[in-house]
Symmetry: C2
């Protein structure tokens, strides 16, 4: 492909820009929001493709099924919405047997039960490689969906939990033995935890924008800033890093499914942090601030440099 | 795969059978129906996989985009529902360029505009083969979704339009020249017409069950009968056949996306037929009746034989 993922998406969105007034949030956010009957419906879809997102010899089908649901639940949560229903289109290669599929379905059911949604339908196809496409719908209080585009200069930039664990887990998965931290990192890669309740708490504290960190902090922050028409200044030393992760993995490793959000002031941040710690035992880190323009990283010595979102140190672009 | 598609689906449904009271129609029908807010939401998903459902050298991306939406719209229509919103998960191989994707999106938009739904979101992934997974939601008057399981002995078995055209189109597509009928058949394969308005008319006339013919008349009829706990007796000479199709293609060729439905009596059939002809110029054929058990085909001489749903003459199973 001769363009980046974001460039291609922008082009597709232009071709599709014919949506009517019933579309509240169209393409380009974590999930779409549409008017449905008297309420608002949230919709998102995500693919897991063999050889790109997983290898059948490294991942159990049960973990894979869990993760296929979880990554979509994360997108619904990042809109401040509650997941309700899922459908799955499954493409199977000739290398797959029925027992593998039953385990995959079992993992999907586990995740659905944990986050109180129902898998209500699906489709089976044959193909040359395994692909699992899940679509999840959710519900949100009308007018209360949290978008990427509401960040304002002066807002605090916050992130839940820690970053880089999933990338570290992928890196160490093929080792023969692991430290406890590495085991935890592998678990984060294999079976990420979508931040559903946490997103609800952040929404109740008045976050101005929110996104889930699926493609790396640097790339997802750049998307939030572009949508909001702002810049951001992050302090590298304050990025909460998983103990098994390198600084680069914390900055640019994908698939952590933590929440990146903006809050109007430090007092709100302290309130939200307390509630997240008390209710879920999950930390909330203040990693910087929204500024007028530019993406700036500040290192331990106070030196500022541009935050790279493309290139070797940047987030996960599916076409690079 | 060591089992048929229907066997594998049945196994998956057992693993997943944990749905709550908010699920009105779960896995196993054309689409799921769930309670959503004060209404009912219809959801369906379908995949088109390179090498299985299409070849990029034989299909234009614009037709492919149109069809990817249309096959899902057909499933929503077969529930007696109105399509509203779509999301698409697109997996692209390295052989695909941006212009191809823009054409694909253009075809999706064409179909969405024709059937008044909005494509509101999506996802891009890289992969070894192209795959297009569309999920469509729809709305239905609460309690009025038409399922597969309502056929009763004595019901007339009816089908819209003609069958076998799509299979014939695929068969003749690689010829150097075509008759007018063959051109029409190719168009039916490349750009099928979902029967949305027609399904609404049939629903208003009190169809007791309905299914779209996506995998061939024989196989889809067997699914309707299994869901309803009945049999069926069809008269082979009365199956409306596309002029380019063989009898076998009309009986077992997939991807026609016509509607197969049951109506309580001949008078209702005549009324529905008149309205379909007047409103849409679409024919409705009476091809037989629902019976207590067994699937029976009657040939031109009145000889009865079992209708084969497995084997060389049967419908399209994705794992055969």
């Amino acid at each position: 492909m001769d363009v980046t993922e974001d460039q291609l998406l922008a082009t597709i969105h232009r071709v599709l820009s014919g949506a009517g007034p019933e579309v509240i949030v169209g393409p380009g956010d974590d999930a779409a929001v549409v008017r449905s009957g008297s309420g608002e419906l949230v919709m998102t879809t995500d693919a897991m493709v063999e050889g790109v997102h997983f290898r059948t010899d490294l991942t159990t089908p049960r973990d894979l099924g869990y993760k296929a649901i979880a990554v979509n639940v994360s997108d619904v949560a990042a809109m401040g919405a509650s997941p309700r229903f899922a459908v799955c289109a499954l493409t199977l290669s000739s290398a797959i047997d029925a027992a593998w599929v039953v385990e995959l379905a079992g993992g999907m059911r586990e995740c659905c039960e944990e986050f109180a949604l129902s898998l209500v339908g699906g489709n089976l196809s044959a193909g040359g490689e395994v692909s699992i496409v899940v679509t999840v719908t959710g519900e949100v209080v009308p007018g209360r969906a949290v978008r990427r585009n509401g960040a304002r200069p002066g807002d605090r930039l916050v992130v839940t939990g820690s970053l880089g664990g999933s990338a570290a887990g992928l890196r160490v998965a093929s080792q023969r033995s692991w430290s406890d931290d590495e085991r935890d990192a592998i678990r984060r890669f294999m079976r990420p935890t979508p931040r559903v309740g946490e997103a609800g708490v952040l929404a109740s504290h008045g976050v101005t924008s929110m996104i889930d960190v699926s493609d790396g902090l640097a790339l997802d922050l750049s998307r939030l800033c572009r949508a909001s028409g702002t810049g951001a200044r992050i302090e590298l030393a304050r990025i909460p890093r998983h103990p098994a992760a390198t600084p680069a993995e914390a900055l640019a490793g994908g698939e952590d499914y933590e929440l990146l959000a903006t809050l109007p002031d430090l007092e709100t941040f302290e309130d939200a942090r307390s509630e997240l710690r008390n209710a879920f035992g999950v930390s909330l880190g203040d990693i910087g601030a929204i500024i007028d323009e530019g993406l700036v990283a500040v290192d331990e010595n106070g030196t500022e440099r541009p935050l790279m979102t493309e290139g070797a140190n940047a987030g996960w672009d599916h076409f690079r």
